[in-house]
């Protein structure tokens, strides 16, 4: 099978390319395999202290008193840090500055840090935590979306819309009522997508060092050194130029190491207080409470459609259970709606999103950030629509695909789209036409599609500067060093830089050294999030490498007396295309250039194109281009126990030209794995009583698939180069997760005829639905009620089809209704 022996590839892959498009070893593979890679927790410095944080044991309370007297006198304790020492509020998004390093006045969740100690070793630090005396005045805890809507006092935060509603957003593109009126049918489905967490194998760790000239260095397992750098400057109140953040290789990120974390600031401050290096490594339980993972999202999706399956309008509504802090949450709220228009033609689209605060670990970005939930709602509904119309779900989708190089109703700029070919591949591979709706009871196939951004079109804080920068240093050794702020989280960001620069300069990846994620040494890259790294750093690297090539070519052209444009860079040589014998080694060429021009260095940068939408909030969703996926899941449902087993999945990914197809396949398979867990078992759930503690912050009881549950994956790479990407590459890291849960839900329906309208699809839900169906009731498990929340009048934006100019309709200021 293709999935076993390398991906089946389809497209104009690798034509004329020597490095790009070929399977290659990752540049960091050997050091990781033999244990040379230094992760943050491997760093040990002389006289280093260890930090532990005192964390709240209650979900919501005012802090009446903290007594630290016993702690300070405990042998081995060198410093105690309290909230008042670092009171400045911060958060990754400028609009959600609601976090503190340590709580000053109240705690908002179990696990909220209250104090930190630095001690001579980890055991002493842990023992010291028992010596704190904290007196709380308990406040009622809010544990669900409904409670957050119902209970306006006490407020978890003093900002936001009102009560415990963090943010409401409402948009209407076109006119959905008009669209519904044109429809032959209108249906609304209520679905729920449970929260889940990233589960990186590496627990978060940081080491801070302070030098007496006032400079701070922080090594940390972060995906976003740049945003962390900004937060450190703000909260520590020292110039950013005096702070150096070094992103250590992440042992898994998946979005869980995107936010700046309180412990990262705390160790810096403790290093400043003690003058000694300070380390922290979170426990697994602490990682569960750091969270920032998948939001639980309750959705109502109302869709108008015609007899041929074409969509006339959609009104999609979401409620997000945000947890205790803002974090990326407002972006997440947008993402639960903005990409619904990117796969199937949709002339009118309306979206309402509401994020609430609850006293639970804060949610945020997890692989697919905010989009797997609405994609689940949409793709399960598409399956129901096809069933209702008596159409094949694959063929019906094929008829409705958005056009390449078009604008969606909500002004997203579609680039290349090969979703049709993706569908063809998985239909063929799974023998869909022979097997769908024809398999014996208990076995089934389901199909779903998806789209995902290749990098967010705007930075998290507004600024006109590039999103990614690359510097090249070349010298007489012939060595090329690539400097870039991007972070290696296992996805291959270092390797991509080496492949691309090698491709342009005609040398091998092994000839290149990559230095990354160091705010002192490397130019800014915004970080490893939103599937932006390959496209943005790749384009910046091409620019830097082309500039270096130009300098070298000038020197070589003069020496060989051939025109510059006749020079070829390949096989570690620079030579005359018309007379390949005439040339020199790359090393000699660099020496010539260094002699002629002096020290060699070039830079490149990348800024995404301006977004076509010009309305408030149009920054969420636009991307230089989008990846597409289609998936077919095969399931076996045991009708006695209700357990669902997925023996195999077929997944076709339109990711443009692969820079390294093996890494792309790794991302596809990893996404299937993560999607499988979300579909079948993963749940970030809390005890139902007022205590709101996590039910199972451990690898044993937080059920995630093992190798025994992992399915066979047959992957197909569709490689039409996209003009926006470096050598035509699009994203691969997140998009392939999206179709997995709905494909499985649709396959469960094919197998046993019941609809499970929420994930995870656990055995008890399946059995309940089977039993209900046997009794003549609706064979469905899922939410039946959608809460009410008054929404502000939507921002009304005429669509491109309607001749809009990307601006919202100006009208009287909307009055937010309570």
């Amino acid at each position: 099978m293709a999935g076993r022996n390398g991906p089946a590839r389809d497209g104009s892959s690798g034509k004329g390319l020597r490095v790009v498009g070929r399977p290659a070893v990752k540049v960091d593979a050997y050091s990781k395999c033999i244990g040379q890679t230094k992760f943050a927790d491997d760093i040990t410095l002389p006289r280093m202290l260890y930090t532990k944080m005192l964390r709240s044991t209650v979900p919501h309370a005012r802090i009446v008193r903290i007594d630290t007297s016993k702690v300070k006198n405990y042998p081995g304790v060198k410093a105690v840090l309290l909230g008042k020492d670092l009171p400045t509020r911060y958060g990754i998004m400028p609009v959600s500055q609601d976090e503190q390093v340590l709580a000053t006045d109240k705690v908002r969740m179990v696990g909220d840090p209250i104090a930190a100690v630095a001690a001579v070793d980890e055991d002493v630090a842990t023992e010291a935590l028992d010596l704190f005396e904290v007196e709380y005045e308990l406040l009622p805890a809010i544990a669900s979306i409904q409670e957050a809507l119902d209970v306006s006092e006490p407020r978890i935060h003093e900002y936001g819309e009102y009560g415990n509603v963090h943010r409401r957003i409402a948009y209407e593109f076109g006119n959905v009522e008009e669209g519904f009126a044109e429809a032959d049918f209108v249906r609304e489905d209520i679905t729920f997508y449970e929260g889940s967490t990233h589960l990186p194998l590496e627990q978060h760790a940081s080491v801070a060092q302070y030098s007496h000239d006032g400079k701070v260095t922080l090594w940390s397992s972060t995906q976003n050194p740049h945003y962390l750098h900004r937060v450190l400057a703000k909260v520590l109140d020292i110039p950013a130029s005096h702070i150096r953040v070094i992103g250590t290789p992440c042992g898994g990120g998946f979005g869980g190491k995107c936010d700046p974390f309180n412990h990262e600031v705390a160790v810096c401050k403790l290093a400043m207080m003690t003058g000694r290096p300070v380390k922290i490594c979170l426990t697994r339980e602490e990682v569960f409470y750091c969270h920032r993972g998948r939001h639980p999202v309750l959705m109502a999706t109302k869709t108008g459609y015609k007899k041929d399956g074409s969509i006339t309008a959609m009104h999609h509504r979401t409620f997000l259970d945000g947890g205790a802090y803002g974090g990326h949450g407002i972006a997440s709220t947008y993402y639960t709606g903005v990409l619904q228009t990117t796969t199937y033609k949709m002339p009118h689209y309306k979206f309402d999103g509401v994020r609430v605060f609850t006293n639970k670990a804060p949610c945020g970005p997890k692989r697919g950030h905010g989009t797997p939930q609405p994609r689940f709602a949409q793709e399960v509904q598409m399956d129901k629509i096809a069933e209702h119309l008596g159409l094949d779900p694959a063929e019906m989708r094929q008829q409705q695909l958005v056009e390449p190089n078009s604008l969606t109703a909500n002004w997203l700029p579609i680039g290349t789209i090969n979703l049709g070919r993706c569908i063809d591949k998985v239909v063929e591979g799974s023998r869909w036409k022979e097997r769908f709706r024809k398999m014996p009871y208990g076995k089934g196939l389901g199909l779903a599609c998806s789209a995902y951004m290749t990098g967010a079109g705007t930075a998290i804080y507004w600024n006109p500067m590039p999103h990614s920068g690359v510097q090249l240093k070349l010298d007489r050794s012939g060595g090329v060093c690539v400097f870039c702020g991007s972070t290696e989280i296992g996805q291959g960001s270092e390797s991509v830089l080496a492949y691309i620069v090698a491709e342009v300069l005609g040398i091998e990846p092994i000839d290149i050294r990559v230095v990354n994620a160091d705010t002192d040494l490397t130019p800014v890259d915004l970080g490893s999030y939103s599937s932006r790294v390959t496209l943005m750093t790749g384009n910046a690297a091409i620019e830097a490498a082309e500039r270096a090539k130009e300098i070298i070519a000038r020197a070589v052209a003069e020496k060989l007396e051939v025109p510059e444009d006749r020079l070829e860079f390949a096989d570690r040589r620079v030579f005359d295309l018309e007379d390949p014998e005439k040339g020199m080694s790359f090393v000699e060429a660099v020496q010539l250039a260094e002699a002629k021009f002096g020290t060699l260095g070039t830079t490149g940068s990348y800024t995404p194109p301006k977004t076509p939408g010009k309305f408030k909030g149009s920054a969420a969703g636009p991307s230089p281009t989008y990846s597409y996926c289609a998936a077919v899941a095969e399931v076996e449902v045991n009708p006695e126990t209700g357990i669902v087993v997925v023996p195999r999945m077929w997944l076709a990914h339109d990711g443009g030209q692969s820079i390294n197809p093996v890494l792309v396949m790794g991302q596809v398979e990893g996404s299937v794995y993560m999607g499988l867990g979300e579909a079948l078992m993963e749940e970030m759930t809390y005890r139902g009583n007022r205590n709101v503690v996590h039910k199972f912050p451990s690898f044993l009881e937080y059920k995630s698939p093992t190798t025994l549950e992992m399915c066979d994956v047959i992957s197909y790479l569709i490689e039409e180069p996209d003009p926006a990407g470096p050598f035509g590459a699009k994203e691969a890291g997140q998009g392939p997760l999206l179709p997995v849960p709905p494909a499985i839900a649709n396959a469960v329906y094919d197998a046993v005829g019941v609809r499970i309208d929420e994930v995870p699809i656990t055995p008890d839900k399946v059995l309940k639905a089977i039993r209900a169906k046997a009794k003549g009731q609706e064979g469905r498990y899922g939410p039946a009620v959608f809460p009410h929340c008054a929404m502000p009048a939507p921002i009304l934006v005429p669509t491109p089809q309607q001749g809009g100019d990307g601006r919202a309709v100006v009208r009287e200021p909307a009055i937010a209704q309570r």
Binding site: D123, F696, F699, P705, T706
Partner: protein, 293 residues
């Protein structure tokens, strides 16, 4: 709590273990495989200042066949049991439990004695050993006593073992001819998952395939592993046919006392008990009568 706060004492003999246990009582616990205990200490379920390890007492390890049955040393691991020829030949049903519990790493570390003595309701070995009429040997300085397994458990993590006693052996009698047993479990994933429910069954047939003795034991759905006497009685004197098996499964569901917890709702677990009882009885019948599956 910090494991470094705990003092570890390694006993070379049972007498020494007993002496150490007495010296540090009540702030002491016995350590065998540690796969439950160390996790519980680390997460704060228990705290203790002293651990007395019995892992160096070689006599507590290994499996010996006797005239009447097999004696399993308390330190024997599930994987050692699974690879023992005598267990494989004479007590195949025990393999149902050793094969599916936890994960390979745990099956190499955990001990049979620990799986029983910890008294966790979801333990996989007690149900199958109970229907096979196993007993445990409790040793103390004042002597040994043998306790049938069905009288060993008192409640969740509570057993009749006194604090001065050490569970040293498990005795399992040879099953009579025309007797078959089986253990069926259901968990939320295939490895590293405690049972949502487990059911062990044994059937002894007379000539003409009439049931002379039937035992059914439930795991993970009551405060202790629970023998369902009624389910057994319903099968007596009958062929273990579809109707009798259904009645027994109903009785097992009735007798179960599941709670709703992280592994499933009480209703769902009761459903699963019925399914597993049926499966266990069918497999036990197959084994007893040499039927082909």
């Amino acid at each position: 709590m910090l494991l470094t706060d705990i003092e570890l004492h390694e006993a070379a003999t049972l007498e020494q273990a007993s002496e150490l246990m007495g010296r540090y009582a009540p702030d002491v616990r016995l350590l065998a495989g540690g796969t439950d205990l160390l996790v519980d200490l680390r997460t704060g379920r228990f705290s203790t200042c002293h651990l007395v390890s019995i892992n160096r007492i070689g006599a507590l390890r290994g499996i010996a066949a006797t005239d009447k049955g097999v004696r399993i040393g308390t330190l024997t691991t599930p994987n050692q049991m699974a690879s023992s020829p005598i267990i494989r030949e004479q007590f195949a049903a025990v393999l149902d439990a050793t094969r599916d519990m936890a994960a390979p790493q745990i099956r190499n570390m955990a001990t049979v004695g620990g799986n029983i003595a910890c008294g966790v309701p979801s333990g996989d070995l007690p149900p199958i050993l109970m229907v096979m009429n196993a007993s445990v040997i409790l040793w103390s300085l004042s002597g040994e006593r043998e306790v049938p397994l069905d009288r060993f458990f008192l409640g969740p993590r509570q057993t009749v073992r006194r604090t001065d006693e050490i569970l040293t052996q498990i005795f399992v009698p040879y099953p009579p001819r025309r007797c078959g047993a089986a253990y069926e479990r259901f968990a939320l994933r295939e490895a590293n998952a405690c049972a949502v429910a487990g059911v062990a069954a044994s059937l002894l047939f007379e000539e003409h395939n009439i049931v002379r003795d039937a035992r059914i034991c439930l795991g993970a759905v009551a405060p202790t592993p629970k023998l369902v006497k009624l389910a057994g009685t319903l099968l007596l004197g009958k062929a273990a046919d579809e109707q009798a098996i259904s009645q027994a499964a109903e009785a097992a569901m009735e007798a179960s006392e599941p709670i709703s917890d992280i592994r499933g709702s009480a209703d769902y677990r009761r459903e699963v008990v019925g399914i597993l009882t049926r499966r266990a009885l069918l497999r036990a019948r197959q084994r007893a009568l040499g039927e082909n599956s």
